[in-house]
Amino acid sequence: MSIRERMSGNEAVAYAIKQINPDVMPAFPITPSTEIPQMVSTFIANGEIDTEFIPVESEHSSMSATMGANAAGARALTATSSCGLAYMWELLYVAASDRLPVVLALVNRALTGPININCDHSDSMGARDAGWIQIYAENNQEAYDNFIQTFRIAEHPDVRLPLMACQDGFITSHAVENIELIEDDKVKAFAGEYHPENYLLNPDMPMAVGPYANSPFYMETKMNQRLAMENAKKVILEIADEFEKISGRKYGFFEEYRLEDADYAVVIIGSAAGTTKDAIDELREQGIKAGLLKIRVFRPFPGEEMAKVLSHVKAIAILDRAESFSACGGPIGSELKAALFDFKFSGIAVNYFYGIGGRDYTVAEAKAVYSDLIAYADGSKPVENYKYIGLRK
């Protein structure tokens, strides 16, 4: 029988880490992810797990130590947010190119500047080209469920890529919700242990990790990373199927909410999907065919799969919680529009910015987005392609 509890998102991830009992966790505190290493170190102090905790002097060091431990043969992870992730930047690319399956519990927070501790996705979206798998959670349950699947995906021999498991800072990390936990023995059996084929501490086969790869090799190395990312698509779905068997909860690249017959759809990542679902339920009562596509897996990007399920929609609002300052759209907007173009989408697709730096996003505002989409589709309002939700004018 699964265990009914109430937990914050940080507690849920820390609990998942306790159940997995990984080998090494180097970490440096930063709001709002601090509780994760804090709780894990408490589990260690209480003798509940035997993970080696390394208190380091910075995030540059926490990521370096995580990668070093992983290359040595350990299952290793760390946690961070915002500028902590920014300080890991150069190592993020190295973890990916060295094909080290480390896991990062990322609690999304706006990047400084101006300095801000609240949620947006500028940290992980900034790292979207680093070669990491990125999986996002809407609520505490998903933060827990996603985390349990992380190591299995990252360490799969066809993948061997680092993985970021993201949740929204404060909104899920600190809000306490009901949660259904899986029994320890089931999680332990599911997560297994890390036994890499090759590792630095193997005296029978010494090895070099991260050799110099100048112009004759760099491009081929990147091609191999891309293939691993393509393989990750298959593996993510396989692990999700396996996870469903122990949890009863189904996961894919994205969730479709009342999308099947929708004329108007919002595409979104993270906790704001819940707010949008409430808006959809109210609109459906008024006979408006509103739907949602909530992205769970942003890297690898399921462009073709999304274009397919959105193909019948008249107007799509793509909501970004991070600016990319291209001056023509945000990260999800530009990538999804490219996929929609490739797969001959003939409707309207508009990019919105919401929740930047923790700005509220309400049910009323979500409903207003659908009103826009209806007006764009029937031609009563000219299409604007760069809109803000909640911006004071």
């Binding site: 060295d98 061997r160 010494p206 070099a208 190395t221 191999n224």
Partner: protein, 102 residues
Amino acid sequence: MSKATDITKINEHSPYYDITPGDQIYGGGGSKKFNTGEWRTQTPVIDWDKCTQCLLCTPVCPDSSIPVSNGRREDFDYDHCKGCGICEQACSFGAITMKEGM
């Protein structure tokens, strides 16, 4: 456990699928086969008439390119000497001089 990587078979003609994940190299001692001596722009030359076999040059070589056998230094390992010139500075007898080029 993978087999030791034959690095002589990984070169600028290798397709991407022949390159190991993460460019990892399995098996030790691969650097012996990597001719870093071709990076050299200056080359140390020994004058055996001046060399006293004091061996002060050997431990200062950052690339272990001054081999020693039976207590006596031998000629430079030009496959791996990068021409830094530290040995020239370490020699008290003016037995090592740096020549321009390879």
